[in-house]
């Protein structure tokens, strides 16, 4: 059972290390995440891209990239449910612990295996294809190990404790800590007792969020959902509009003056 938030900080005293790891580091990483994104969006539109390398290598990418991305979508959805939704809510809508657990383990395993396989193929092509390797820059050299570590720690933790182990209910510990961060009522003691793999996974995830704005991961925020709704043809004016802009319905215009065309 999760403790009453009002009990903190009068609950069991937390050590300085725990405060550092589970309060200071997460908040610092979140701050870097937010400020870094604002800074990069304003400074580096030109570098804001998926940095596609399909032109140079497409055989491994053809399977690896969809596996990784679709797996990642499922994994992210699983984390949202597991971390953001309190156990009491799912119980309230009639999902008992066993059902929740079974579903989470099955769906999580499928998603995790897809993501790990895809990421493995993407890492392999990056290392083995000389063309792709030479196109790898410093941010990729940070991102790929960090992302791989986070994903592997996560799937290992699940496998060790919930697939093959006797089960660990992170919803009463890790999730409580996670929600506490965003409720501005940090609960470092909630995660301090979690198994090592879960704690390492949480820490590497924090670092991943801190690195996010400085890597190609920024392309996530450019997911082109707007394409579904915009007209096919895009017109733009080069300079100041004349008296009557010659564009009507079915097209849209945008000033090009602050853009860099090639």
């Amino acid at each position: 059972m999760s403790a009453d938030p009002a009990a903190w900080p009068s609950a069991a005293p937390v050590s300085g290390t725990e405060l550092l790891l589970w309060v200071a580091v997460p908040y610092a990483c979140l701050a870097v995440f937010v400020v870094g994104h604002v800074w990069r969006y304003r400074q580096d539109q030109f570098g804001w891209t998926s940095r596609t390398s399909q032109l140079l290598e497409h055989r491994a990418l053809r399977w690896g990239s969809p596996l990784f991305h679709l797996g990642a979508f499922m994994v992210i959805a699983g984390h949202v449910v597991g971390l953001a939704v309190p156990a009491s809510w799912t119980r309230a809508v009639g999902i008992d612990e066993h059902t929740y657990h079974t579903t989470a383990v099955w769906a999580g395993s499928v998603a995790g295996v897809a993501m790990v396989t895809g990421l493995g193929m993407l890492c392999a092509r990056r290392l083995l294809s000389r063309r792709v390797r030479l196109g790898t820059d410093r941010s990729d050299k940070l991102l790929f190990p960090l992302l791989s570590a986070t994903v592997l720690l996560g799937i290992t933790a699940t496998a060790a404790h919930n697939v093959f182990g006797d089960g660990y209910d992170y919803r009463d510990t890790v999730s409580v800590w996670f929600r506490g961060l965003f409720a501005l009522q940090p609960r470092p003691e909630a995660i301090a007792g979690a198994p090592l793999l879960f704690r390492l996974h949480a820490l590497s995830a924090c670092l991943l969020f801190a690195a996010w704005p400085f890597t190609r991961l920024v392309h996530v925020w450019s997911a082109p959902v707007g394409y579904l709704f915009r007209p096919y043809l895009v017109y733009r004016r080069r300079g100041p509009a004349p008296a009557a802009p010659p564009v009507g319905p079915g097209a849209r215009t945008r000033r090009a003056s602050s853009r860099r065309p090639v």
Partner: protein
């Protein structure tokens, strides 16, 4: 021409090009000067905004005209609506992670550089040092096995040219069988700056756009997120991925020169003087309807129907309402492109069946037909012989038709006959022998003596001022233009320029010891 009663909609101006293929000698000067101007940079070593192909041939990238494979351009769905051949919006987003219809670098060619340094640094010895080719992508020694003009002058044609996607049908067998006796011509290609551009329509980020003022299609480098759908959607494969920046790049129609009233670099440096630049006014409201014309062979006329007569008072009034300046209207009236496309109707679009309404048109080459007349023992100078050859010699005619008219041989044949009659008449006129026979030949193809003089001046004399009628951009736009100039589009690859590109751009592909780029 729209009929006289139909209302004129939104008038837009397009800077368009016509190439007279009879004059192309395949010297590649246009390609080289374009390369030096725009793509001599890391990441686009393999990209040629302008390239010259030998036809028949499979082209660059290989077999790019095979839309069954590459899914370029538009198609009509079962209900007759215009859809991208590569799939609708949802399908496009689903293929973001891996685009199944994207050419790989091997479909273009592996770009190479040479070990020039060994020419100087090799120790004294008995052997002459050589500069070995190295891959520009990996820096490793490589064999040069393909290039953007590998088939130049039918090089390797017996092996490769049978793969030309335009060689379909029974007549193709004869082309392949008698290859040494057949024909070739050069086809310079660049971005078509289409009225209905598939690349713009396919871009998930909205980074590609068509300029309202002059119709030039550009990529906004700051908005491109590297989804690479434009490469698939362009049926001419004239959008390229810069593999160093991960962004799309394409022919800019040399917009900084056009804005200054100058011709594009490829036009300016064309030694055959075969390119024409000028304005076309068109009715933007009719573009979608024209592109969705059901019959592929009707697309040419449908596209001509979108263009507006710049001398028509109703068009002039509508153009003024749409904000087109007076000097642009004047330039549209003097446009050599309008003359060749609309008045004399000797220029044809490249692959109208792609439904993008391309805006680089071609005067089809008469030379292959004349060669055939000679080979058959006929007289090139006799219009009767040539007319007979045009209709009888199915090989070049059907081939040209598959390039320029979606297979309609009557249209291509008509243009070739017009060119033949023009030659015959002007030769006779120059010798003072022009008589009723030549004038009758002219009338048969819809030309008058004065029209023939005019067309001759445009096609054969081809003065600089007649070929290029490019109105400069307007001074009231000067602030916007200088803002563009300050953002030189060829900066990149980590070079310090006005502002720093802080992240994510590899600057080095080879170690310095491996030779200059």
């Amino acid at each position: 021409m729209p009929d006289a009663e139909a209302p004129v909609g939104r008038v837009m101006a397009q800077i368009a090009m016509v190439m007279n293929l009879d004059k192309c000698i395949g010297c590649h000067t246009c390609s080289v000067t374009c390369k030096q101007t725009w793509t001599n940079r890391t990441g686009v070593e393999y990209a040629w905004f302008n390239n010259v192909e030998t036809k028949p041939g499979i082209g660059y990238p290989r077999r790019h005209e095979d839309q069954e494979r590459w899914k370029g351009g538009w198609a009509l769905d079962r209900r007759g609506r215009l859809v991208l051949r590569s799939g609708g919006r949802v399908r496009r987003l689903l293929s973001l992670f891996s685009n199944p219809d994207l050419p790989g670098i091997e479909d273009y060619y592996e770009p190479v550089t040479y070990d020039y340094d060994t020419l100087l640094s090799a120790p004294a010895g008995n052997d002459v040092p050589v500069a070995r080719p190295r891959s520009a992508l990996t820096g490793e020694p490589t064999a040069v096995t393909w290039g953007a003009n590998w088939e130049d002058g039918l090089g390797g044609a017996p092996e490769h040219a049978g793969g030309d996607p335009n060689l379909g049908g029974a007549w193709a067998e004869r082309v392949r069988f008698e290859f040494e006796q057949t024909f070739l011509f050069h086809l310079p290609r660049l971005c078509e700056h289409c009225l209905n551009p598939a690349c713009v329509s396919a871009c998930p980020s909205g980074a590609l756009y068509k300029r309202v003022e002059d119709g030039i299609v550009l990529v906004d480098q700051d908005r491109c997120r590297g989804w690479r759908m434009c490469v698939t959607a362009c049926p001419y494969k004239k959008v390229y991925v810069n593999h160093a920046t991960g962004k799309a790049e394409k022919c800019t129609f040399c917009f900084p020169r056009i804005e200054a009233g100058q011709p594009t670099v490829c036009s300016e440096t064309c030694v055959g003087r075969l390119r024409y630049l000028g304005l076309l006014l068109y009715d933007a409201d009719r573009v979608g309807e024209a592109a969705a014309t059901p019959g592929e062979q009707d697309l040419l006329e449908a596209q001509r129907g979108v263009f507006l007569d710049p001398s028509d008072p109703r068009v002039i009034a509508a153009a003024r309402r749409s904000g087109i300046p007076e000097d642009w209207l004047e330039a549209a009236r003097r446009s050599p492109v309008y003359d060749l496309v609309m008045r004399h109707r000797v220029a044809l679009p490249l692959h109208p069946e792609y439904r993008t309404l391309p805006m680089v048109w071609y005067v089809p080459p008469l030379s292959p037909v004349l060669d055939a007349v000679d080979a058959a023992g006929g007289d090139q100078d006799d219009p009767d012989h040539v007319f007979a050859a045009v209709t009888r010699l199915r090989i070049p005619l059907e081939y040209l038709a598959s390039l320029f008219t979606a297979g309609d041989t009557d249209v291509v044949g008509g243009v070739l006959m017009k060119l033949t009659a023009l030659r015959s008449y002007m030769r006779a006129a120059a010798l003072g022998e022009a008589g009723g026979e030549q004038e009758a030949a002219l009338r048969a193809v819809g030309l008058t003596p004065s029209g023939a003089e005019e067309l001759h001046r445009l096609l054969a004399v081809a003065k600089y001022a007649d070929r290029y009628v490019v109105p400069a951009a307007h001074r009231e736009d000067a602030a916007a233009l200088s803002a563009l100039e300050n953002r030189c589009p060829v900066e990149g690859a980590g070079e310090p320029a006005g502002r720093t590109v802080s992240l994510g751009i590899p600057t080095l592909r080879r170690t310095p010891s491996e030779g200059p780029a």
